[in-house]
Amino acid sequence: MITLKINGLDVSVEKGSTLLEAARFLGFPIPTLCYMDGLSPYGACRLCVVEIGEGAKAKLVSSCTYPSEEGLKVRTASSRVLRARRMILELLLASCPQSKIIQDLAAAHGIRRQRFKQEYEDCILCGLCVRMCEEQMMGKAIGFRGRGENRSIGTPFDIKSDVCRLCGGCMYVCPACQLRCTYNEPEKAICGACANLSPPCVEKEQFNDMMCYMDPCVACEIKKDK
C-alpha cells in the first residue's frame, strides 16, 4: 500500500495504481477522453491533468499515466488544473466540434465560447482505436502513420488490412465521430458494410466467436428483413 495526499486527504492505495485509478477509487472525479478501462493508458488527450507537488515545484501531469508515489501531494481540481482543462477542451472542441463526447465534456466544464477556428477534423489522434484493435481484439490492423501535422491513423497503404476482421471495435470507441462512416469507399473503409451488404461476420467464419460491435449492423438488418 502507498499513502499519499489527494486534495488534502490522507489516503492509501494499492501499489502500482495510477493517480487516476486512485482518485477515481476514492471518488474524486477526473474527466478523461483517451483513457478506457481494459486498455493501456496512453496520455494523449491531457484532459486528466492533475497538479502534483507544492509551491514552486508544483506541476501538471496526466494522471492516467502517472503512478502513485509515497507521500505525493495531489490536487485534482485546483484552479490551475481547471484552467488547463478548460483550455484543452476548448482546443479539442475547435478541432472536432461535431463530436458529441467533446461537446458534452465542454458543456460540463462551462465552456461558453469558442475562440479558435473550427477545423472539423475527424480524428484527434487519441489512439483509442489503435489500442482497442491491438489489446482487446488482437488485431493490429490499424496504427499511427506519418508524424507531425501529417500524423494519421489508418491501415497500412490505406487499403483494407488483411488482419482486420471488421469487428467494428475501433469505431465503437472513437470519441471523435462515434461510428466513423466512410460511406461507399469500401477499399479504404474499415466498415464498408453499406457497400458490401454482406455481414462481415458471415464472411469470416473462422472467427465465429468474435465480438462484433456493429450495432446496428446494416448488413445483418437487411438479411433479417428478407
Binding site: 493490429k140 490492423a141 499511427f144 502513420r145 491501415t155
Partner: protein
C-alpha cells in the same frame, strides 16, 4: 549517391534480395530501421512488397513497420528519381533567399517538393538545415553541396546533374591545385605551414581509430593522395576525423558511394565543401566549389 537509385521498378523487386538483407539482422528487435535503410539504399525507396516481406519474416505487425517507414523523412514509399535534390529551407537559408531558389526549382522541374518528375529524372525534397548555414542557401544534388545558390544558377545545376557530376570541370585545365581547408566547426585553417607535403603546407587533422589518436597530414594538392600519419592505420579500416583546434568531430552527412564509409566534410577557404572518404585506402572524394 549510388547509381542504381530509383531505377528499379516494382516488378524487379526480388524477394531474395530482401531476404538476404533480412538475414543480416536476425539478432535484435531493434534492427528494423537498419533493415529499412538497406532496402532503401538498394531500391531508392521502400516498395510495398518489401514491407510485407519484412513483416512476414520478422513477425512484426505490418502496421508497426509501416508506421516507422512513414515516420522518418529519409524513407520514401514512392519510387524516387535518378537525381535527388535536397533544397535547404532552414532558418539561415530561408533568410538568405532559399524560398526563391525552391520556387525556381519547382518551376523548372514542374513538380512540388516531395515529388518526382514524370521522366523519373529528379526528385525534389526540402529539408530543414543541412548544417552548412554559413554557405546558405544550400542545395545538395546527388550528394554534392552547392552553396550560395541563386535563382539564376539553377538551370546550370540541373544541366550538370543530368550530365553527371563526374565530368565536373574543376578550374579549367589545372587538374592539380592547392586547397586551403577550414574546420567546419571553428573555421580555423587546417593548413599547417610547419610540415610540407608535395612542397605545399600539409592539411593537418586529428584521427582516431580504436583507442589511438594522432595526427594525419594530407597533401593539400587536389588530386594528390600523399599523406603522413603519426601511427599506422591498417588498410580498409574506417577512422574518425577531428579538428586539431577545437577537437570536434568533423560532420558527415553522406556515405561514400564506393565503400559506404561515412564521408568527412570540411570547408574550403573561399567557399566550397570538400568531402573525403574516411576509409583508409579508399580514394573517393567530392569537391564542390562555389
Amino acid at each position: 549517391m549510388a547509381a542504381n537509385t530509383g531505377t528499379q521498378s516494382a516488378e524487379d523487386i526480388d524477394s531474395k534480395d530482401i531476404l538476404r538483407i533480412l538475414e543480416k539482422h536476425t539478432e535484435d528487435r531493434g534492427g528494423l530501421i537498419a533493415i529499412l535503410e538497406e532496402i532503401q539504399a538498394e531500391y531508392g525507396y521502400l516498395p510495398e512488397k518489401s514491407l510485407r516481406i519484412i513483416s512476414d519474416k520478422t513477425g512484426r505487425p505490418l502496421v508497426d513497420v509501416y508506421s516507422i517507414a512513414t515516420f522518418y523523412r529519409s524513407f520514401s514509399l514512392k519510387p524516387r528519381g535518378k537525381h535527388l535534390i535536397y533544397a535547404c529551407l532552414g532558418t539561415a537559408c530561408h533568410v538568405r533567399g532559399a524560398p526563391r531558389v525552391v520556387e525556381e526549382l519547382k518551376h523548372q522541374l514542374g513538380i512540388e517538393a516531395g515529388e518526382t518528375t514524370p521522366d523519373k529524372e529528379f526528385t525534389l525534397e526540402t529539408v530543414n538545415c543541412l548544417g552548412a548555414c554559413a554557405l546558405g542557401p544550400v542545395v545538395v544534388i546527388d550528394g554534392h553541396y552547392f552553396s550560395k545558390v541563386r535563382k539564376s544558377r539553377i538551370s546550370q545545376l540541373l544541366e550538370q546533374a543530368r550530365n553527371g557530376f563526374g565530368t565536373l570541370e574543376i578550374g579549367k585545365d589545372k587538374r592539380i591545385f592547392p586547397l586551403n581547408v577550414n574546420c567546419p566547426h571553428c573555421n580555423h585553417s587546417l593548413n599547417d605551414d610547419t610540415y610540407d607535403i608535395d612542397g605545399h603546407p600539409s592539411i593537418r587533422v586529428t584521427i582516431s581509430s580504436g583507442r589511438k589518436q594522432g595526427w594525419l597530414r594530407l597533401s593539400c594538392l587536389y588530386g594528390s593522395y600523399n599523406f603522413a600519419s603519426e601511427f599506422d592505420v591498417s588498410i580498409d579500416s574506417v577512422v574518425s576525423f577531428l579538428c586539431p583546434h577545437c577537437g570536434v568531430l568533423f560532420p558527415s552527412t553522406s556515405d561514400c558511394s564506393v565503400c559506404a564509409a561515412p564521408m568527412v566534410r570540411m570547408l574550403v577557404d573561399g567557399g566550397g565543401i570538400l568531402q573525403i572518404c574516411s576509409r583508409r585506402g579508399c580514394k573517393n572524394h567530392i569537391l564542390d566549389l562555389v
